[in-house]
């Protein structure tokens, strides 16, 4: 497997054990029937509130935690199959993750050079010291950390949050990542430098790197990603082309999410908000639409039957009974 062009997730379910007895274990359903595709040179944004299962999906794609059921395939090869023998190290070199907190993801007692050299050596044991060095310098230049020679000798505390996040991106790129799963990469950074990081990742798409951009900020999702998927309590409720999803949101949750985005001067009147309700905890036994408890357009069918996927446009899908055939027949 040299060049990856597509990672496909089909019907992925992830359950976490949450106590119970040894005879009857209890589970929490963190992700339910998630299907998505990451393509080289493109970004897919996963938008949702805390606890909606965004990071859980990324961890499964990274093979950090295995899915309970479902398939993850890379260019047609199923990596979740029991007979799949590719070693984790080889896979990890291609699929890298960037974390939210650049202050916690770098070791304070090591230089940037150390942080860069270690993964490069682990993944490319055949490289000589000069080759490793050249790769480090060129990658640091590429992410905008010039002069790279000086930056390489610095310790994390000498860098700002934005520069640290650039180091995290450089580290992923240096080992040859073809897919980068970025888990809220800009939410801990200062507003003035967030855009710089987004633009850097945008430029990397041109080099064929595919991104999964996890965020709770739907405005940046539209800015950076070609496609957007909105998640609610472990379910993908609406997905497709970013512009279709953000400009003509169809699922009541997406509509709620977009109406809540603060934007100066745009909102003159207060929109109708969804009734306040606690976000439900989903178990394998739960049925019906996860958003039913908060939805203003809820009907009886929503409480009992999980809505099927409906295609609205060429690249715009929604999971809601309002748009399903079945609903119109009832």
């Amino acid at each position: 497997m040299t060049k990856m062009s597509e990672i496909t997730v089909e019907d992925m379910v992830i359950d976490f054990p949450i106590g119970g007895s040894i005879f009857k274990k209890k589970y929490l359903r963190a992700a339910n029937e998630v299907s998505l595709t990451l393509r080289a040179g493109e970004a897919l944004a996963i938008v949702g509130e805390s606890g909606s299962g965004k990071s859980t999906c990324a961890r499964a794609i990274c093979r950090i935690s295995p899915p309970t059921s479902g398939r993850i395939t890379v260019d047609g090869v199923e990596i979740t199959a029991p007979d799949f023998k590719m070693c984790q190290r080889e896979y990890a070199a291609k699929v890298q993750m960037i974390f939210q907190d650049p202050f916690g993801s770098l070791n304070p007692v090591h230089t940037i050079r150390h942080h860069m050299a270690r993964p490069v050596r682990i993944h490319n044991p055949h490289l000589t010291a000069t080759e490793v060095d050249a790769l480090i310098i060129s990658t640091l230049e590429r992410v905008g950390l010039s002069p790279a020679q000086q930056t390489a000798e610095k310790y994390p505390y000498e860098l700002s949050g934005g520069q640290r996040q650039r180091v995290a991106i450089a580290r992923a790129v240096a080992v040859g990542a073809q897919f980068i799963l970025a888990d809220e990469p800009i939410s801990m950074l200062d507003v003035s430098i967030r855009l710089g990081i987004l633009n850097l990742m945008d430029d990397m798409k041109k080099d064929g790197i595919g991104f999964m951009y996890i965020t709770h900020d739907i405005a940046t999702a539209r800015y950076f990603a070609e496609r957007t998927a909105v998640m609610y309590v472990g379910h993908m409720v609406e997905w497709g082309n970013s512009d279709s999803v953000t400009q003509t949101p169809r699922h009541p949750y997406t509509q709620l999410l977009i109406s809540a985005v603060p934007e100066a001067g745009v909102r003159e009147t207060r929109d109708v908000m969804a009734p306040k309700a606690d976000i439900p905890q989903r178990t394998p036994e739960s049925c019906g639409c996860p958003f039913a408890a908060r939805c203003l357009q809820v009907t009886d069918i929503c409480k009992t039957i999980m809505p099927p996927v409906t295609q609205l446009e060429e690249d715009h899908y929604v999971r809601c009974h309002i748009y399903s055939e079945r609903h119109h027949n009832v």
């Binding site: 700002s160 507003v191 430098i193 855009l195 977009i258 985005v261 100066a264 908000m273």
Partner: protein, 335 residues
């Protein structure tokens, strides 16, 4: 929320050239440099800027909650004409909470995890008012209901509540003594947008009911544009622009404000490549001569590297101030 509704004759809070230094071994870092700010009764004033620009430092100093190494080296802070910096311990104790309350950034850390929220509410009432325990308890229940939490939650511990509910409890505690000013330091930063929207709407209903003024500190300009009457922008300890919310966001006069405004991708507007602000924030221990923003500014000219820009009026109706050599030069030509 409109400008005409606010009585601008006597300021509620008036900061006059306040300087706050952090005394460190490497030298004094000036987190607030000659900050002057008036807040009128019932007004919402926003302070925006990136981390380390001194906005939270100022918020703490208003109620003198700053701790060493922070030190107020110059200026005065007047609340209804009384100098906060000269109050003795007793007067300060009565002033805090009863007249100026504070809502902190992280509601997760602001509540004591081992005491019920009811006890934390009652504690404030009993400490400041001469009421019986039962009276305080029913007042606590009433307050929880005003922020949209069932009174049965009085006996809950903070960990049993969601982040949004905890933030509501913190707001309820701030409102206990009906303060005239509430200082909110990034009250909704850690929350999801939908929850943030609910809390802000509720806060505004409460503001209409009780008529308090708000000093709102955040970096989210979109949210500020919606709720604030006036917005001040801070950079490296200096107030660099101040004016009516709409004017600051729609016609920013300082290049930093313009950069900050264009750092937020829009959800509705046209999709275009934005550039934000290049470079990194300055180190307060090593400030350049002249304008602090010179290294990151695309419009920097020779004067910017020599002289400090002064906050000057650049617009009259409503008053708009900016501290930039370019805008002041333009004003001079216009005059």
């Amino acid at each position: 929320m409109t400008d005409t509704m606010i009585d601008r004759s006597v300021p509620l809070l008036s900061c006059r050239s306040v300087c706050i230094d952090y005394v460190t071994a490497a030298g004094n870092a000036r987190a607030c440099n000659k900050m002057s700010l008036d807040i009128y009764p019932g007004e919402t004033v926003g302070l925006a800027g990136e981390s380390g620009c001194g906005k939270s430092t100022l918020a703490f100093a208003i109620t003198r909650m700053h701790n060493p190494p922070a030190l107020i080296s110059e200026g005065e802070i007047l609340f209804e004409g009384r100098d906060v910096l000269r109050m003795d311990e007793d007067a300060l104790r009565r002033f805090r909470w009863a007249e100026t309350a504070m809502v902190f950034q992280s509601a997760m850390n602001a509540l004591n995890p081992v005491i019920t929220i009811g006890a934390q509410l009652i504690d404030v009432i009993l400490a400041h008012q001469d009421v019986s325990y039962d009276g305080a308890y029913s007042r606590g229940e009433e307050l929880l209901e005003t922020v949209g939490i069932s009174k049965s939650r009085m006996s809950s511990y903070p960990h049993q509540l969601s982040g949004g509910m905890r933030q509501r409890v913190v707001i309820a505690i701030a409102l206990v003594l009906r303060p005239k000013l509430i200082v909110m330091d990034e009250p909704t930063t850690a929350l999801d947008v939908v929850v943030e929207r609910e809390i802000m709407d509720e806060l505004y209903d409460l503001k209409d009911k009780y008529g308090f003024a708000i000093l709102f500190i955040s970096h989210d300009l979109g949210l500020m544009g919606e709720i604030c009457d006036r917005i001040g922008i801070m950079y490296a300890g200096n107030l660099i622009e101040m004016g009516a919310a709409r004017q600051v966001l729609e016609a920013p006069q300082h290049p930093y404000t313009a950069g900050l405004v264009s750092s937020f991708p829009s959800i509705h507007g046209p999709k275009e490549r934005l550039f934000g602000i290049p470079g990194n924030p300055v180190n307060l221990l090593n400030l350049p001569t002249g304008c602090n923003f010179q290294d990151r500014c695309s419009k920097c000219v020779a004067t910017c590297k020599l002289h400090d820009p002064i906050l000057q009026q650049v617009g009259t109706a409503p008053p708009h101030f900016a501290a930039c050599h370019l805008t002041s030069a333009r004003e001079e030509i216009a005059l």
